[in-house]
């Protein structure tokens, strides 16, 4: 009874402060290929009109010896078209190096730049991965913002992405 009551109350209070930090975990699959390159990857929040509401993560070859890592950002085709091409990279807090196969967790504070002004509503969390001499895969997870307590959403890729999960950090 008490729990229901407090939930009802929190529902009435529209305060972004209630949103917990977003934790995204991304599994990069281990692939048995002759020539393996760590994938380029981008994560963003997209509104129903396909407009990018927040850029969250971009992993690319930042430390490319010839500073040419950004030449292949366009291979993240959807991200490039919807957000990447009008962004200046590298961008602090957004871009970093590519990751090796395995599980990776990214924590984004609710009061950080991409999230603090995010209007409440439904969004797609989109994860796009593109691998050199490999394929490309896009996963979408519909989320409601602000994230309700106990949010735990999952998706699983088939080729270039493994398990992707979105959680709220308590």
């Amino acid at each position: 009874m008490r729990i229901l009551l407090s939930f009802g109350l929190t529902g009435l209070v529209a305060a972004p402060a209630l949103a917990g930090d977003m934790e995204i975990s991304i599994e990069i699959p281990k692939l048995d290929v002759a020539e393996y390159h760590k994938p380029y990857l981008a994560v963003w929040l997209e509104g129903p009109d396909q407009k990018v509401a927040a850029n969250l993560v971009v992993w690319y070859d930042v430390a490319n010896p010839k500073q040419e890592g950004d030449k292949w950002l366009k291979d993240l085709r959807q991200w490039w078209r919807r957000a990447g091409r009008s962004l200046k990279v590298p961008a602090d807090g957004l871009t970093s190096a590519t990751r090796a196969p395995g599980g990776h967790a990214v924590s984004i504070a609710a009061d950080s730049a991409p999230l603090k002004d995010l209007a409440p509503g439904t969004y797609d969390l989109v994860v796009e991965a593109a691998r050199e001499v490999g394929g490309r895969e896009v996963l979408r997870i519909p989320i409601a913002w602000p994230l309700a307590e106990g949010t735990a959403l999952n998706a699983k890729g088939e080729h270039e992405l493994g398990a992707v999960a979105v959680k709220v950090k308590p």
Partner: protein, 271 residues
């Protein structure tokens, strides 16, 4: 189309017009149309005429009428240009971000006349007409030909300064940006003739890769009163679009007829 019908239509074209609309498709094919990165960006472009897209197995296009427009409207010089047996090739350095327009713009006169009872033909520039047609020529028929064969390339964020219509001949004024094309999405373009909307003109659309399928798979759309035509690309790939118009709006007084044609290569990316 059945082979016999095809031959008949080609013959009909040949006899109906002294210089039949170019039977082969003329096209430019860029190495990429969407590029990211900052330094040392460039594209290599093929220019050829052939029956099957985009296979360079017939003849090259000459590059003397090449015009490359940069995002700031300035003209860019092509580099490493060469013409081989079946295609011409050139590089376009993309020094600044934005959209580039790459075009072969050919304004020519075509003439037919009789000399000593023999039928002769001539093709050249307007300024050379008087000089190169013999004084004794009879039955002179002059046609003005205006051709534009083009493609678009964008480095970074697309913009539209280079998309500004040239204002002569047939061309498109994009409504949808030509480097923003995605499969299954409808794109819109406005066809212009001498800078004004060209209505009721048929535009042929063919996807490349003909060699590996049994049906040509071409589509024809017609421009509306406002010159606009729309198309939702069924699959990703390189597409070739062509339109042509014949009228009497010549700018050279000796010419009775003007033929304007337009061809563009557009890349449609997967979703």
């Amino acid at each position: 189309m059945k082979p016999i019908l095809r031959i008949a239509s080609v013959l009909a074209l040949f006899f109906a017009a002294p210089f039949a609309a170019e039977a082969h498709k003329a096209w430019l094919l860029p190495s990429s149309t969407v590029l990211s990165g900052k330094d040392d960006l460039a594209v290599t472009i093929d220019a050829a005429a052939s029956n099957d897209l985009f296979y360079f197995d017939h003849r090259p296009l000459q590059l003397d009428s090449l015009v490359v427009t940069a995002p700031d409207g300035a003209k860019v010089a092509a580099e490493n240009a060469s013409t081989g047996k079946y295609r011409s090739t050139f590089d376009v350095p993309l020094k600044a971000p934005g959209t580039y327009r790459v075009a072969l713009v050919m304004e020519n006169l075509l003439a037919r006349y009789k000399e000593d009872g023999k039928e002769k033909r001539w093709r050249g520039k307007a300024e050379n007409l008087a000089r190169e047609i013999p004084a004794a020529a009879t039955d002179l028929v002059v046609t003005q030909s205006s051709r534009r064969i083009e493609t678009y390339v964008t480095a970074g964020n697309p913009d539209d300064a280079a998309l500004k219509p040239a204002g002569t001949g047939l061309e498109i004024a994009p409504v949808t940006h030509p480097n923003d094309l995605v499969e299954k999405s409808e794109a819109q373009f406005k066809l212009l003739l001498d800078g004004k909307p060209a209505s009721g003109v048929k535009v042929e659309i063919v996807r490349g890769g003909i060699r590996y399928r049994n049906q040509l798979g071409d589509t024809t759309v017609t421009t509306g009163d406002d010159g606009v035509f729309k198309y939702a690309w069924p699959e990703p790939g390189m597409y070739w679009l062509e339109a042509s118009v014949a009228d009497d709006k010549t700018t050279v007084k000796e010419a009775k007829e003007r033929r304007a044609s337009y061809a563009v290569t557009l890349e449609v990316l997967p979703e």
